[in-house]
């Protein structure tokens, strides 16, 4: 692209930014109208959790979260269909290997904590899954070709587990007569925890597998514990 065109685009975008800023300023100075927050906070005692963000994600908009897991799975399927993963890096030096052997268990522990704490404080399946994914990324950077994940077959099952458990919970609530993903109040906390746990594992596996960047290569010792 030539220089005048770049400048022109820059100028137009500056104007655009000014318009957006003005709109944002006007929106801030107006009194807030009817907000969904009031409804969300009012029905919080019925949702089974006390953290409003978790309640929105896994209770009020559970359908949305279910489909989001489907998006993650679709992305992984796309990545796997593009070919095999690149070979991993060479095994890490002793300093990095020692650090990884400390940090990865800590990451898994913190992930479990975040999953549990999501019920009443900031945290939840996505944060915990992101930590598990980060553990996988670290392992791959330290030389593990498969990012610490089990065999391809197990990876497939784990990647689908989140959406499968979520859908089964939804079907279960349907059979129980409350409607798809409408938790009965007595069980809601445990159903949410079940769905979130499966989602955490799935998200972690999918993120780590996506980082490997392709279908896992078959190893000679396939099926052995990593």
């Amino acid at each position: 692209m030539n220089r005048p065109a770049k400048l022109m685009i820059g100028l137009l975008l500056c104007l655009f930014a000014l318009v957006l800023l003005w709109v944002f300023h006007v929106a801030l100075t107006q009194p807030p109208g009817a907000r969904l927050a009031d409804l969300a906070l009012a029905s919080l005692p019925l949702s089974g959790v006390t953290n409003p963000v978790t309640a929105v994600l896994v209770n009020y908009r559970a359908y949305d979260t279910l489909l989001e897991l489907a998006v993650l799975l679709a992305a992984l399927l796309g990545i796997w269909s593009l070919g095999a993963a690149t070979p991993g890096f060479q095994p890490a030096g002793s300093a990095l290997a020692a650090m990884v052997s400390w940090v990865v268990p800590l990451l898994i522990l913190t992930g479990g904590y975040l999953l549990w704490v999501g019920g009443y404080a900031p945290g939840g399946a996505f944060q915990a899954g992101a930590l598990l994914g980060a553990a996988g990324v670290l392992l791959r950077l330290a030389g593990d070709e498969r990012a610490g994940l089990p065999s391809e077959r197990a990876q497939r099952r784990l990647a689908v587990a989140g959406i499968a458990v979520f859908a089964l919970v939804g079907l279960g609530t349907m059979v129980a007569g409350t409607g798809f993903l409408t938790y009965p109040q007595r069980w809601s906390k445990w159903l949410i925890l079940l769905a979130e746990t499966a989602a955490t594992v799935s998200i972690g596996v999918i993120l780590a597998a996506a980082y490997a960047g392709g279908k896992p290569r078959s190893r000679a010792s396939d099926g052995a514990t990593p």
Partner: protein, 93 residues
């Protein structure tokens, strides 16, 4: 109010920078990064809008941003894998 304006303004700035980079640069990797910067700007703005005055922050935009981050990460991963595949094809030719 000023803090809101600063935070939301930073979001708008990030978004516009991302759009500029997306339009101007040709390399696929830069476009993917630009898209991510645009997304970060939108997330900033949504978080800034969630809290109004003395009311408790609105959890709905927070949940939307969480959803958005995960979708952005997976889309980025897919785009990078596709980009790598394209480069492999170009090298083979």
């Amino acid at each position: 109010m000023t803090a809101h304006l600063l935070y939301g303004g930073a979001g708008i700035l990030l978004f516009v920078l991302g759009v500029w980079s997306f339009l101007v640069h040709e390399a696929l990797l830069r476009k993917v990064i630009a898209l991510n910067v645009m997304g970060s700007g939108v997330f900033h703005l949504l978080i800034a809008i969630a809290e109004r005055g003395s009311l408790p922050p609105d959890p709905v935009p927070h949940a939307l941003v969480l959803t958005g981050i995960v979708v952005a990460v997976s889309a980025t991963a897919l785009a990078l894998a596709m980009g790598r595949r394209l480069e492999d094809e170009d090298d083979a030719r």
